[in-house]
Subunit: 163 residues, 2 copies
């Protein structure tokens, strides 16, 4: 099997089976004497089993394309939302599930003004920023119980960009 | 009374009675093979009366210093968290309550890597970015009922910077 994954531009349409793209939508509410647009309630947060929705900051090392993808993970007890705080694009890598394992991954690149919200139990890679010193606000379930499952591929996928 | 408010640099210590500063903290968890720091659960989200925690995007006109502050608002049914997505500083203006009205305001400027979470029922100004085209992710209560109270000062406060 071809083990190369070519990065695509992220769109809500391509991403919808994996979760939400957190970006401005059509038809915002106008608030604050019409000085501000409110794009309302655009991520579906999921929290199971006595957890609460929490806000955290992630600060990750930079990744460089092309790179070898070996590990995917998923969170059986809740969604996980990543909001970039620096206006920089980052990589978003997801897979459908196939018999309890991640199927062939898809790799997307954001436009710098997009966050993502992974649905509960969707396979995704760890956070993969493409710039140094980027912070992400993460909105996910915090609580008791095991909320991560990891999968390591037998062979790596090569994630590369033609953009 | 002197109606001038001088902008101060935002710190968690100065802000604690109004809410949380969403920024990296000491002693993060190391995750993802130690490639990522997780600063865990750093905003206290409050949701009353059948609401849910929602994620929205605000896109506001730019404000310029000095400016005249006339209006404050507060949300009796939940906290409200603002995460800048563009790495740009913004103004954060808050007041203690005095007999049901906002007392003399405090004005803070963020360092570009800070968000804020206003506690339930804390008086604050509307969103006041200092740059064009900045997006903010907002995490607040969404649900039925009246969740905003506004107050208009008899005379404006002049918010200015010496920084």
């Amino acid at each position: 099997m071809n083990r190369e994954i070519v990065v695509e531009k992220l769109t809500a349409e391509k991403f919808k089976k994996f979760g939400d793209v957190v970006e401005p939508k059509d038809n915002p509410l106008l608030i604050n004497q019409n000085k501000c647009e409110r794009h309302n309630d655009i991520a579906f947060l999921q929290v199971s089993d006595c957890g609460h929705v929490g806000v955290s900051i992630f600060s990750s090392e930079k990744y460089t394309l092309p790179f070898q993808l070996l590990l995917m993970e998923r969170h059986p007890l809740g969604s996980q939302c990543f909001i970039p705080m620096s206006g920089e694009p980052f990589l978003v890598i997801v897979s459908a599930d196939k018999d309890g394992c991640p199927d062939r991954p898809f790799a997307f690149i954001t436009n710098g003004k997009q966050g993502v919200n992974y649905k509960q139990n969707i396979w995704h890679s760890v956070l993969t920023p493409l710039s140094e010193n980027t912070l992400f606000t993460v909105i996910d379930r915090i609580g008791p119980g095991k909320n991560v499952e990891e999968y390591i591929f037998d062979q790596p996928w090569l994630v590369r960009s033609l953009l």
